[in-house]
C-alpha cells in the first residue's frame, strides 16, 4: 500500500510534468498550426473558382497556392454599407467573430481574383446548417451578376446527407451560371428548392434527406450575398 503522501506527491508531479510538456508542444507548434490553417483557407477560397485556375487545386503544392494567391488575388474589406475599408486585409477578417457583432459594425471580406477572363469577385457567406455553422465562398463574374462557382464548407453536417454540400461536387456545380439579379434588376439571389428547380437562373435542387441544411444554404445565399450588393453595384460604372 502506498501512503497518502506518496500518492499526493505522485499526482502533483505527474500533472505538472504532463501539463508543462503539453503547454510547450501547443505553443511551440502554434505558428505551424496558423500557417497550415491559412493555406487550408486559401485552398478553400480558390476552390470556388477551380475551373479558372491553371491546374487542379489538389495538384498544387502549398507554395504554388500561396504564390498564386499573392500574385493574382486582391484583398478588400468592406463595411456594412458597402464602403471599402482601408488598411485591413480580407484574410484577417474572421467571419465567425464578425457574426457576433451588431450588423452595422460588421466587416466583410472580399477577394478579387484577376484571371484571364477578367475580375472574379469571391464573396464569403455564412449561415446555419442543421447541427452547426455552414459557409461558402461564392465567385461572381465581372458582370457583377452571374455566379461562376461556389465552394461550401460546414462544421458538422451529417455525412451522406447535409455534408453532401461539400462532399458531392454536383451540389456546388449547380450554382454555376445562376444570377443574383432578375430581369428587372432586383435582388433575388439563388434559392435551394425541394422537388426540382424550375427557375433556371435563380433556383437549384436541394439534397434529399437534408432539408434543413438545404434551407440553411438557401437562406445563407440570400442574406449573405446581399451585403456585397452595394459594393458590387458601385463597381458597375
Amino acid at each position: 500500500m502506498y501512503s497518502n503522501r506518496y500518492i499526493t506527491i505522485y499526482t502533483l508531479i505527474m500533472t505538472l510534468v504532463v501539463s508543462v510538456v503539453l503547454a510547450f508542444t501547443v505553443t511551440g507548434l502554434k505558428p505551424f498550426h496558423d500557417e497550415a490553417e491559412a493555406i487550408f483557407k486559401k485552398r478553400d477560397i480558390l476552390g470556388a473558382i477551380e475551373g479558372q485556375l491553371p491546374k487542379k487545386l489538389a495538384d498544387m503544392s502549398d507554395e504554388e497556392v500561396l504564390s498564386l494567391f499573392d500574385s493574382k488575388v486582391e484583398q478588400v474589406v468592406i463595411d456594412a454599407k458597402g464602403k471599402k475599408q482601408e488598411g485591413v486585409k480580407a484574410e484577417s477578417v474572421d467571419m465567425a467573430a464578425e457574426e457576433k457583432k451588431p450588423e452595422a459594425a460588421r466587416q466583410y471580406p472580399l477577394f478579387i481574383f484577376n484571371g484571364e477572363q477578367g475580375k472574379i469577385y469571391l464573396t464569403s457567406v455564412r449561415g446555419n446548417g442543421l447541427w452547426d455553422k455552414i459557409w461558402a465562398y461564392v465567385a461572381i463574374k465581372d458582370d457583377l451578376n452571374t455566379i461562376v462557382g461556389a465552394a461550401f464548407g460546414h462544421v458538422g453536417e451529417t455525412p451522406g446527407l447535409g455534408a453532401e454540400i461539400k462532399d458531392n461536387p454536383n451540389f456546388p456545380k449547380q450554382f454555376e451560371g445562376k444570377q443574383l439579379l432578375n430581369d428587372q434588376g432586383d435582388y433575388v439571389s439563388v434559392k435551394v428548392v425541394k422537388g426540382g428547380a424550375k427557375d433556371p437562373l435563380h433556383e437549384v435542387d436541394g439534397i434529399s434527406g437534408a432539408t434543413i441544411t438545404s434551407v440553411g444554404v438557401s437562406e445563407m445565399m440570400v442574406r449573405g450575398l446581399e451585403v456585397y450588393l452595394p459594393y458590387l453595384q458601385a463597381q458597375k460604372k
Binding site: 506518496y6 500518492i7 505522485y10 505527474m14 510538456v21 508542444t25 505551424f32 497550415a36
Partner: protein, 234 residues
Amino acid sequence: MAETMTKEVKEKEELEWFGPKERKLITDPLNDDNPVTVQILGVCSALAVTTMVKPALIMAVSVTLVTGFSNLVISLMRNGIPKQIRMIVQLVVIAFLVTVVEQVLKAYSYPVWKQLSVFIGLIITNCIVMGRLEAYAMANPPWRSFLDGIGNGAGYGFILIVISVIREFFGRGAILGFKILGATDEFLLNTTKHWWLSWYQPNGLMVLPASAIFLVGIIIWIQRARNPKLVDVS
C-alpha cells in the same frame, strides 16, 4: 520503493528480443486472442469508423501506435504507480500521448488532421488501450508490453479492415474510394460498360452502424467454428 525491487528479481527469466514468447505476443491477438472477436473490446469504435476503408486503415495504424507506446510508458512506470490511482495515471498517459500526436499531425499534415479530428478523440476512449494497460503492461517488462500493445493494435486493426472492406464494397460498391460495382463512369473503371459490374445496387444498410455489428457477429461465429482453441469445453 524498496518493496518494489523484489518484484524485479522474479522477472529475471531470459528476456529475449524476438524469442518464441515475444513472437506469440504479436501473433496471438491476430487470432486466438483477438481483442475484438475474443476479448470483445473496442467494438464501439469498430462500428463507427468502418464505413470506408481509408479511415479504418488510419484508425488501425493510430490505435496500434497508441497501444504500443502507452503500454511501453506504463510498463516503465509500473513500479512507481500507486495502486489506488493507477487507472487515472493510465488515462493521463493515454490522453497525453494522443494529444501530442494530434498536435503534431495538425502542424504537419493539416488536411489529414481535419479529416481525422473526430477519430483521434475516439482513440482515447478505446477500451483496448486501457484494457491492455490493466491486463498486461502493469505486470510485465517494457519490451514485452510494447510488443503486446502492437500485437493487440494489429489484431484490432485487422478486424477493422476486414469489416470496412466488406462494408465499403457492398455499401458503396467501392474499395478505397475506387468504384468497382454499380453503374458509374466517374472513377477509373467505367463500370457502366460491363453488365456484370453495373447490375449491382449499393446496399444502404451496409453503410449504417447496424451492419457492422452483424459482421462482427458473423466473424466471431466463423472464428469459433474453425479455431479449436476457442471451443467452449465446459
